[in-house]
Symmetry: D2
Subunit: 351 residues, 4 copies
């Protein structure tokens, strides 16, 4: 067994950058370029984004997903307002309070969802309660979802549209944390426009880092009126690069020749191969539908022990109610090969 | 005249990255690496920083100088406290309120200084006034200086130590915005330790982007007690990269084999060449001592007109009191050559 | 039936001020007095507070409970930290995000508790989870409880001490929202010292408005090191009255001759009379132990209908799981008489 | 000399409350009243305010001027925006950073003005500079003035209208800190409408505490669209009283039967008597026009010494450039009598 077959399944952020992204950096390095986004790479990215989304958009590159999410929410939620999200969503539990920081104290209100997907009725009930409390309660302003979700599931277009319609009917906006947007779109087989504004998304955090960029995400704003504010908020938070060309060039390469989709399809395909292989093992079963590049799977205790003994990395995960076997999370990446997956499967079977 | 001789003197942030930095990124890209700073590149950087500064330090890489400054100030100044800085300092006028954002509203109080260098007596007077106001006034907490300053001057070690001693005697800490720290150290000919904590600096924003990095700065904390807090504040602000190796590798390359000093010496030398050449022209005179890589120079009106006609870029600058000729700022970079400078000088003389 | 017997049971904050409090205001009005707390009334209050709590304390009068809670939390929780509280606690649901505002975005994490009382094990589990998440999760800093609780129950001294011990063992502090502190102490029959710092409370929001003041609460700080910071935070938030004597005089009167306890005992006694009377009605039963001046009671639907028809005010309340009858909240006040209570009981029986 | 003639001239906030205000509190205390502003006293105040200002307004009572100013600014300035004010204005130097706190870090930019009155040209220049800086500079949003000013002067209606017109032409709003609004209106002899919205004021901090209230100010909003936001911000900051009737009743009494104007006229008249008396003394001269109830006066050194020896209180004040004699500030109050003033004058002459 070579070292390549002992590939780590801990997360998609332990991969490096795709070669096309590194090449784009080298290309962008030639000569001087105006700073703070007045460079031709950024201008080109803006055109690319509008073609991709089939409409005028504001696109604001930043280096991290936390920055993208927190900045996006800061233009949607005033300090005395509320953001509804999944109770275990990334913005709720994994960003050290970034949304609260950027919004000057807006409140995230977590809603439960077995498979990570919020339902329109939950929003309706939560908003009704909040509004019944009058001035004493933070005011409903935003629904924020992850696509793909924290549990590896993907909102279907209809479910997304229904959620957006409910949010809008109540006067709320819809933010999509698309850290794994590419994996979701690859799964859905739809256009980026269908996956976002056509379904009612108001602001998208467009992820690239987990899917091949070095450090690049973007806030994509479908309502041009919010774009001006983001320019200042980005600068004020230290997320405007002086040599912005190096952010924009990453994203430009990412969106060129479908690199983003090709990478995501590879990660998704490896996840499917992994799921199929593990499902064939006695006692292994998915505890969430596998719809992107993350598996949440219950395993007989011997299996994770064998995998760890063989040098494989992955996270133990909280088991859902009623599940007695240990649950683990396995994440695949754009740069994994069938041999990487097969290596893990072989180790899992080795006992 | 080739395109190389029409080099732009607008700022040092229009240059690209040094080849050693790009090579380091490519090198760091091999294989997987633990995310969020648990990678070997970050560990190596921490060792390098401690060798460089000759003592234990906390080092926190981020992508921008605004982030470095604002994060540094956020651990030194509580929301009801005051930061004294130059009235035209970068944190005061060029960061869209980032220090106020990160510190939850601490107040920057600007002090005048003809050459950009604050004096101990100014601090003493300002603190005495603030404290006479009791609970009604924000409380003095920090002195923040730029080294090199906004006016291209450099604090001497003795002046720095005197300022730090005054700050400390009053219970304040000293932050150094070192966006051009390398240029200052190159000028001073001292060690990084002498230029910082040995003279009394408590926290340093260590710049690299203007001097050859793609996007990399670091907060260097000389008091380990403040380091834990910074970990959380960096994450919370979205400045912790998931693929942190790509930040750390830039800084590691920057600090290896004196790349930082070699680059700064080149920029400084080009500034000296430029200053000498312009000083020889009738009616041209520096309005600030030229001590790093920025010139502030008064010129007969025909000169800037000629330079612009020849395609040179640079900023007009507010003239100091009593100066009637136009003043411009010219900035040199690590990647400029004597030919670049001579090209500008020829154009200046061409009339 | 006179209008006095149709007394409103909606809340204890619909009552006016006790005559002793109004008299104290009139008394304090004589002559000039130094502003912003340098007056003799404030000095006297500080002595009174130290006698009452049997130790040095910092006492900071403010006009509202929301201000007291939010200011107290702002000195205990840094922006990247977490406050554990009851999932339906006042600070969580009724203050429009004030704790988040004052703490610059610290996160409130709600824990469930059937009777409103948090358990030490809950804190231990929540902190263990948070710390397992490293830099990605807000850091545990504070446990905040209400005494009496939101559900009208009262922590016993042993339960309080156990909770405080757990918090302190984990490095957290304990804040007590004492909007109804007097009712709790009256119930417990202990000293204020026993009810607070001797059991491990670090900061108390001492309520007076619901119990007879016009508008007066106080933050009582048992750790003198935190007092200086509060002076500035109170001023900065606009809660330092220029004519501070009018806040201090209210509290001084409140704490003089046991007015606070006498008022609370009256309210508690009226609640007991009310509970006893309602419990005698077929189908009425308390859904929470009645330990202060609030009743949460399930009633046959005809009863609340009759009460409302008779002009009585009170809130419907969410029923606990498994309760099918409507639940209402009835609150008694310091200025209620047996006739007030008997009037409601008569109306309840009238069918 | 009786104690009445040794009246303190330190500030108008050392006076007590007017008897009409205390009577209103006692009157409001009868019976229960709905909490949080749903009481008849608050409703009556809203009607009174609309009559006084001759148009629909939002009026939001709070207990302090700092709260009124900071809340008002928080709805006018977003976190990345700028507020222009006098360099020594109350919001700049005397509120411990309250505007920065409430606005989540908006920046106050101080402009000099010899007599405390900002000029339209200053606004135009400052805004032009800020806008030339692009995304790097906080964005101009608000002009905030004090009326009467910090220097005891009063903007004439024409000067006010010119300033407002300039602000509006540039897209900025105008906030008036009316801590001494009554003194200014009494001086101007105009209507409240003429003194505010008819001249272009967008939001007024209406002071009452310095002029006879116990603790009561109000934010008066002339643009109804901003009112909803203020409801939540006031609650969130802990400035919504549960027994709101006690704030509203103070203001209602204040605005009834011209109490506010009668009180202010008395204070202004006493200031005129004081100014006339002191001006007659050799070597005494006003260093600011005396237009409300504050005198800034240069005195031969023996005079303040004599006054202090006689037991009079007042502040030394920074002398304007070129003034070599000591300068003091003397403030008169609504409850001062000619005998109070004459006592000071006699003591001043006593040498």
């Amino acid at each position: 067994m070579t070292s390549q077959t002992r590939r780590d399944f801990t997360s998609d952020n332990i991969a490096g950058a795709a070669p096309q992204i590194l090449a784009a950096l080298a290309h962008a390095n030639a000569g001087t370029a105006a700073s703070y986004g007045a460079d031709p790479f950024t201008a080109a990215l803006e055109r690319t984004a509008e073609e991709l989304f089939e409409r005028p958009v504001g696109i604001f590159p930043v280096a991290t997903g936390t920055a993208a999410n927190a900045l996006a929410l800061s233009v949607l939620a005033r300090p005395f307002e509320a953001v509804y999200c999944h109770a275990a969503g990334h913005i709720m539990t994994d960003e050290c309070g970034a949304p609260e920081f950027y919004s000057a104290g807006a409140k995230l209100l977590g809603l439960p969802a077995r498979d990570g997907r919020l339902q329109p009725e939950q929003i309706a009930q939560a908003v009704a309660f909040a509004r019944s409390m009058g001035v004493h309660h933070v005011q409903p302003a935003v629904v924020s979802i992850s696509q793909a979700t924290e549990w590896g599931t993907v909102y279907g277009i209809d479910a997304l549209a229904a959620l957006a319609a409910q949010a809008h009917a109540l006067g709320l906006t819809l933010h999509m944390d698309g850290a794994r947007f590419a994996n979701a779109v690859a799964r859905l087989g739809c256009t980026p426009a269908q996956a976002t504004w056509k379904a009612g998304v108001d602001i998208l955090s467009l992820g690239a880092t987990k899917n091949g960029a070095l450090a690049a995400e973007a806030i994509v704003v479908f309502d041009p009126a919010r774009a001006a504010e983001l320019s200042f908020r980005r600068k004020r938070s230290g997320h405007l690069w002086s040599k912005m060309r190096f952010l924009s060039a990453q994203l430009q390469a990412y969106l060129t020749d479908d690199l983003w989709l090709r990478n995501a399809r590879q990660a998704n395909a490896m996840a499917e191969r992994l799921a199929a292989g593990l499902a064939a093992l006695p006692g292994c079963r998915l505890v969430q539908p596998m719809e992107a590049n993350e598996l949440f799977i219950a395993l007989p205790p011997a299996v994770p022990a064998r995998l760890r003994a063989a040098g494989y990395g992955f996270y133990d995960w909280p088991a859902p109610d009623g599940e007695t076997d240990p649950v683990v999370r396995l994440v695949t990446s754009f740069d994994m090969t069938p041999a990487d997956v097969d290596g893990l499967l072989a180790a899992a079977r080795a006992g």
